[in-house]
């Protein structure tokens, strides 16, 4: 039982990070209808930015974080302007492939600027581990969970009640109708990429704490797919719930099946879940029930 609890609690903690990354993805999808294969790379470049400001430039913590947030938003804006805007109205396949190209580009930029050496990320969320339900949890994990929940609440409210949130939803739902109602669709798109990059920066600080910083970390951008498919592509709640569920499933599979199956069962189980969900309920737990089908 202890082992089970241990796995679940840790799974939830890791899931908090998945949730944060997935939130950025869902935000872009919800507001622009674009599918972003480069979310992991955006996250990674944000992590390196925090590292650069904090360690290489030796800025104080608050300034470093602010600077990273600012540059991240600038990055989101630039990406939207240069690469996504020319494709407004193009088929979804083109957008997917452009973000794949973008992923390559960003990875190249990271390798160019920081090399392929692994780097140690400074501790931001320091603190003694805390006991939850008899299981000790690291401070970082709690922060991840807390931040994910906070973002969930903020973004749910924003999308529901704020004028900008409603405009963003309108822009995603039907570009032409939104335009004719006087909504600046381009601005909404730019805004959502900026916010998504900001979320990536938040996620980056947490991920940096748990791993050494290296190019390989961008795999987390792919882990997002099981999460968002499970939760529903356009659901903010879904991103968080999906993140937690995938985190727990992953950990349980690693803990219990690891003994019977060889290799990294942990990494493969989310994708099996993904395939099953795609076949049974492609819109996920909370997504909109409209999927083009033949």
């Amino acid at each position: 039982m202890d082992f089970f609890l241990f796995l679940v609690v840790n799974g939830i903690a890791v899931g908090g990070i998945y949730a944060l990354v997935a939130l950025g993805f869902v935000l872009i999808y919800k507001a622009t209808g674009a599918i972003n294969f480069a979310q992991g790379e955006v996250l990674l470049i944000c992590a390196y930015l925090v590292y650069a400001f904090l360690v290489q430039l030796e800025l104080p913590l608050w300034l470093a974080i602010l600077a990273a947030f600012f540059v991240a938003m600038l990055l989101g804006l630039t990406i939207e302007r240069l690469f996504l805007r020319p494709l407004v109205g193009e088929p979804v396949a083109s957008v997917i492939m452009v973000t794949i190209g973008l992923a390559y580009l960003l990875r190249g930029v990271i390798r160019f600027a920081w090399g392929s050496v692994e780097r140690n990320f400074p501790l931001i969320f320091a603190g003694p581990p805390i006991a939850v339900a008899g299981v000790t949890v690291k401070m970082v994990h709690l922060w991840a969970l807390g931040l994910a929940t906070a973002c969930l609440v903020v973004f749910s409210l924003l999308f529901k009640y704020s004028a900008t949130g409603v405009r963003m939803r309108a822009a995603a739902d039907n570009q032409r109708a939104a335009l004719s109602l006087g909504i600046d669709v381009n601005r909404m798109f730019a805004l959502s990429w900026m916010v998504a990059a900001l979320l990536a920066a938040v996620g980056a600080m947490i991920i940096g704490q748990m791993n050494v910083l290296s190019i390989e970390l961008s795999y987390i951008g792919l882990t997002v797919f099981p999460v968002v498919i499970l939760g529903g592509l356009d659901s903010v709640v879904g991103a968080v719930v999906g993140g937690l569920v995938i985190g727990v499933i992953e950990n349980l599979a690693g803990g219990y099946l690891g003994a019977y199956l060889p290799g990294a069962v942990k990494f493969i189980v989310p994708y099996i879940v993904l395939l099953v969900i795609l076949l049974i309920r492609p819109y996920g737990f909370f997504g909109t029930h409209e999927i083009e089908r033949v």
Binding site: I35, F83, S94, G101, Y104, L105, L279
Partner: protein, 351 residues
Amino acid sequence: MSVGVRPCGEFARGYPEDERVLKTRFVRASMAAFIGLLFILPFIAGGYVLAIVSGILIAVVGATGLNILTGYTGLISVGQGAFMGVGAYTVAVLATVWNIPFWLTLPAAGLVTAAVGAVFGLPSLRLKGFYLAIATLAAQFILDYTFMNWESVTKGAVGILVPRPALLGHALANDAEFYYFLLVPAVLGVVVGRNLFRTHVGRALIAVRDQDLAAEILGVNVLKMKLVAFALSSFFAGVAGGLVAYYTTSVAPGAFNLSLSIDYLAMIIIGGLGTSTGPILGAIFVLLIPDVLQHLIEMLRNVVDVSYTFAALREIIFGLFIIGFLIGKPEGLARFWRDFRAYWKLWPFAY
């Protein structure tokens, strides 16, 4: 595909003549010359060129396959690399365990991969666009995991050493012999890939891409056609994977990862989706990037030493090309090639 411009005085007398792939005498002659050049290449080119061309030949087979699925049928796949892996392992197992000759293992690799591809294509019956891309992503990871961990068959991380292919008791040894070994399937693949879309199956695939609803109403069995597209595409991938296995003489799990899949996707995007010349031009282009870059870096060495960033530069250039072609030239290199030919056809007149 056809340019639509015919030289003055060349008329088709009847439909068979109108539907020819190579319409004019000049085109037929230049194609014959090109194929002839390919066959005498080992006598005029050195080992370095042969090695590059050999790599391109394999890639042409794989890219032609992916083009059937993504370019003509409109189903995005980011699992081509893994499907090639299935082919490579099939060849490796058949050749090492049962000593089966290559002219049987290669088609077998194609068939096994076609079956695997059709299974992973099943989600396409319910899904379109992004959802399908994700399903193939899952296929990529699941197959990767299988290569790594199904130790009784794949030998895990160690991989399998593949014996050199033998023809009539003579094991192929040098670059030139291997070149011919790869050239035949590549030419066959391109010819089949081109002619497939003159048959009713190919036409049905294009109809599914352009308007699936309309296709269904016109009597195309869309579900069946999607699976056919997956199977056909995977057959090519399997053969290409088998060729890789023979060419590199070893099969190990790391070689067939996601980035290989994306390389292939890049080839058909850069080359031109849904064109028959696209995969060839794209394969040449993508495989030449590292070599050209290497030369550039060496040339620049005296000015600035950037050799340490080779990997980074390759990724940056790769990404920029994918993005640039999608935004600026969605029809890819095939369009350049077509415009170039059309230009010279009318030269020195502008129209």
